[in-house]
């Protein structure tokens, strides 16, 4: 199958109309020519293709997920996929022709609004690739504003976020430090942090602001915003986060859904697309991409960020998810996730696992294992359970969402009990 609709007859007519005798003539100026056929597996019919893909997907084993660590497995209402499957949405390009893109544009405006309401910030962009690169870009906003080039990371970042931050900083000549000084552009903290601890952001905000730095808060688990005080109300200047947990499947880690939200003074520093409300020539309300003078296609080498395609369809999924869940549903998701995690932590504590969280935690927690984490993870995998993420020699990071039932928690504990 190659999805080319023209037949031989049309092709011959078109070659003639194009003024060439053959395809060879059409590609005459191209060099060097590939003198052989591409060495790829032969074309497949859709029937064969469907079989092949089903077989390939079947080589993965789906486990009961007690793993989070940056990718959160929350329940997705059926209606979300029905909305994102509208091909007027998913087969469209970036909404540059606003008159025929009001659907995408209004969705972006609603997404920006939802993220502002949840984070307590004034302005959110239309999306970034993922929470990790968004966190790096958010720190660079602080570097731009303060004209300083050090980032003070003051709590435990998700190691993948930290690795991405390191890669971005290295090429940009920005230094990552563990302490706040007069050279720091920002204090960067993750909340909840990698091991699930919930921090008092006000304290970080005060310290940052006293040193002339900004507070950048990274949020990896978006449902935490449903029950935690909004970072914007705690003095955050920039919030960067991951919103995959809102209506997007874990999908082996991608696509993800990053975003950056800022206080309104910094709107011109925010990277990526922004959608604004305006009026049309007929006096009717409408939406356009706006403040584009910040972006690469206008500003070129003077742009602060090069982002172009972002994660629009994932933002649609998140917007639909939030609309369906509403405040009541979202609060239930967060409370159930909280309850399951606390149940499991308590039971593991009773079995002799040393509890590692020093502060209150939401749905993710660390424990020290009485047996090697590797052994524990392998044993639970055999029973269809993804036990958590091993961290270091003897600890494990465990996450619960509302998708896990009380029975699932019970099963987990029973398998563990058998190992001790």
């Amino acid at each position: 199958m190659n999805y080319v609709p023209n037949k031989g007859k049309e092709t011959a007519e078109m070659l003639k109309a194009a003024g060439v005798a053959s395809f060879d003539e059409l590609f005459a100026s191209v060099k060097p020519k590939l003198a052989r056929k591409l060495n790829l597996s032969p074309p497949k019919s859709e029937l064969e293709l469907a079989g092949h893909m089903l077989e390939l997907s079947g080589k993965n084993t789906l486990l009961k997920n007690f793993v989070g660590a940056g990718s959160y497995d929350h329940y997705i209402p059926s209606a979300v996929a029905h909305i994102t499957s509208r091909s007027e949405f998913y087969t469209a390009y970036t909404p540059y022709q606003a008159e025929v893109s009001q659907g995408t544009l209004q969705v972006i405006y609603e997404f920006q609004s939802y993220m502002c309401l949840l984070t307590g910030m004034d302005v959110s962009n239309a999306s970034m690739y993922d929470g990790a690169s968004a966190t790096a870009e958010a720190a660079f906003i602080a570097c731009d504003i303060t004209e300083r080039s050090e980032i003070a990371v003051l709590n435990k970042l998700n190691p993948n976020y930290e690795k991405v931050l390191r890669t971005y900083c290295e090429s940009r000549g920005v230094k990552i430090t563990g302490e706040l000084t007069q050279k720091s552009a920002c204090v960067l903290v993750q909340n909840p942090d990698f091991e699930g601890n919930v921090h008092e952001l006000e304290e970080f905000a005060n310290r940052a602001h006293e040193a002339g730095a900004l507070l950048v808060v990274s949020v990896a688990e978006p449902t935490s915003l449903a029950i935690l005080k909004a970072p914007g109300e705690c003095g955050a200047d920039v919030v960067a986060g991951e919103a995959q947990g809102f209506g997007n499947p874990v999908s082996f880690g991608g696509p993800m859904l990053g975003y950056i939200a800022v206080k309104k003074d910094f709107v011109k520093r925010i990277p990526g697309r922004l959608c604004g409300m305006t009026t049309d020539s007929r006096g009717k309300k409408g939406f356009v991409l706006t403040l584009q003078a910040r972006e690469q296609h206008i500003r070129r080498e003077r742009a602060s960020c090069n982002i172009c395609s972002n994660e629009a369809l994932c933002a649609l999924a998140a917007t639909a998810y939030l609309a369906l869940m509403g405040k009541t549903g979202l609060a239930n998701v967060a409370k159930l996730s909280y309850e399951r995690a606390h149940e499991l932590q308590k039971k593991l504590g009773e079995l002799g696992f040393a509890l590692q969280n020093t502060k209150p935690f939401y749905n993710e927690f660390a424990v020290k294992c009485p047996i090697k984490p590797k052994k524990l993870i392998a044993a639970l995998e055999k029973r269809g359970i993804a036990a958590g993420l091993g961290i270091g020699e003897d600890r494990i990071l465990i996450c619960c969402t509302e998708k896990l039932s009380e029975q699932d928690v019970e099963d987990y504990v029973n398998v563990v009990r058998g190992l001790l």
Binding site: A92, S171, E339
Partner: protein, 463 residues
């Protein structure tokens, strides 16, 4: 249309109710988002979708964007639970199918491009560019400070270079629309890390002297980079790796048929020659016997550019496409180039064609002839919407004033090209005031972008 926030209702029970009463710091008081019934939400977004235009709605000749048809089976397979419900930190033993898919996709991309190794981690084209510039930075350290780009380059190229602290130097194009070799020779010094070019370029023209360009760059020890946005013109015909490119990115959401999603998610894999392989992001997918695993221990890697392994769901779709088409990718590129040349020759009598030579998969016209009557490219673009087509890319590339950049792609039948050509020709002969008042049939008229930027309204507020 009302905003979602201007409606109210009772939400559906998607998850059980929790009776838990949580204490500080979990006692968020105010969550100012509405509860709504499912039918309200479905109708709201269904209605919004009807205000949109996609490839499934009609002709979408957006130059440089390759808006080809997005096969439906790709959407279905990406949603198979074995892929969509797989957590990225699932132990390797339980994720063999995902790793195999990635390994095979990397291998196929190597074969299609002639590169030696690929990383699938970058999430979009611009992200792939940035990754490539990071590789150049790591390769040269502080020893080289400049990157060259032609004046036809995508805006993301200079922005990517500047993000890594490189000075960007622009090379002029010659009268045939290609890089001027004399200019390049003068600019290519031992302080230049890389020449970034799009081939075929954004004028829709193949670089005729690509091997000479490679020689000039390599003679000074520089790297040659290919922005693979236009791969759709050359699959099975020529390979960047054979032409002397050292590093490149691909846009899987262009040549490899994955949908654009209204602005992403895309995927921007980066391919390199052997001598640059160890710089690629970690982890790398490796095969030992018939087991696949992730290798985190690569000395010299730039590190990570994304949290996990890239936009996996998009990768599944591109893989599915490549397995469907196989070596017939050559027919795809041939048809893409033929469709563009056919349409170009049909429109040539009516519109100014600044570079009159065989084009690749796209071509650039201008509205010079229409400007005399006071009609500009923007007007023509808006009038096309009235005829039921999407507009081409306009005012790009920057070196052509009043540009209309048209890319029909191979998935359009001849009759659709004829229909579009008829509309373009009609518009060329319509009274200027009619064209300038377009669009009249769209859900909204021309929008006031100036007001939007002057008094930004970027969110709904409950105050």
């Amino acid at each position: 249309m009302k905003l979602i926030f201007e409606q109210s209702g009772k939400n559906s029970e998607y998850v059980p109710e929790s009776k838990a009463v949580l204490r500080e710091p979990f006692g968020r008081k105010e969550l100012p988002i509405p509860d709504l019934g499912e039918v309200q939400v479905i109708r709201h977004y269904t209605k919004l979708s009807t205000l949109n235009y996609g490839v499934d709605s009609g002709f979408y000749p957006l130059g440089s964007c390759t808006m080809k048809y997005n096969p439906k089976i790709n959407e279905d397979v990406a949603r198979l639970p074995g892929f969509a419900a797989l957590h990225p930190l699932t132990p390797e033993k339980s994720s063999q199918g995902a790793l195999e898919m990635m390994y095979e996709l990397e291998k196929d991309l190597c074969e299609i491009t002639g590169m030696d190794a690929f990383s699938l981690q970058p999430a979009a084209g611009a992200h792939g560019e940035l990754t490539s510039v990071m590789i150049a930075r790591k390769h040269f350290g502080k020893k080289r400070s400049k990157i060259l780009i032609p004046d036809t380059a995508h805006g993301t190229n200079p922005a990517s270079g500047a993000m890594c602290g490189f000075g960007m130097v622009t090379i002029k194009s010659n009268s045939r629309g290609n890089i001027d070799l004399d200019e390049l020779g003068k600019a290519m010094t031992e302080d230049v890390a890389m020449l970034m070019i799009t081939n075929p370029n954004t004028l829709g023209l193949f670089e005729e002297e690509i091997t000479k360009i490679a020689d000039i760059v390599h003679a000074k020890g520089g790297l040659l980079y290919c922005d693979g946005a236009n791969m759709n013109a050359m699959m099975g015909i020529t390979r960047p790796g054979d032409a002397g490119f050292d590093i490149m990115h691909l846009n899987l959401h262009k040549s490899f048929s994955t949908p654009h999603g209204g602005g992403g998610p895309g995927a921007g894999p980066v391919g390199v020659k052997k001598f640059l392989e160890n710089y690629l992001p970690v982890p790398r997918v490796v095969k030992g016997g018939d087991r696949y695993s992730l290798n985190w221990k690569v000395k010299g890697s730039i590190g990570k550019v994304g949290p996990f392994f890239g936009n996996f769901g998009v990768l599944v779709k591109a893989y599915t496409y490549i397995k469907a088409v196989g070596p017939e990718l050559k027919l795809v590129s041939e048809a893409a180039v033929l469709n563009a040349n056919y349409l170009m020759r049909k429109l040539q009598p009516h519109y100014d064609l600044p570079y009159d030579r065989i084009c690749a998969h796209e071509f650039v016209l201008t509205s010079k002839k229409q400007n005399e009557k006071g009609v500009h490219t923007m007007d023509i673009a808006k009038r096309l919407l009235d005829y039921g087509h999407h507009a081409p890319t306009i005012y790009f590339p920057l070196v052509v004033p009043e540009a209309l950049m048209i890319e029909p792609t191979e998935t359009e039948p001849k009759e659709k090209l004829d229909e579009f050509a008829d509309s373009m020709i009609k518009i060329a002969n319509e009274p200027p005031e009619l064209v300038k008042s377009a669009p009249v049939t769209t859900p909204v008229g021309r929008l006031d972008g100036v007001a939007a930027a002057r008094q930004p309204n970027l969110r709904w507020s409950n105050e």
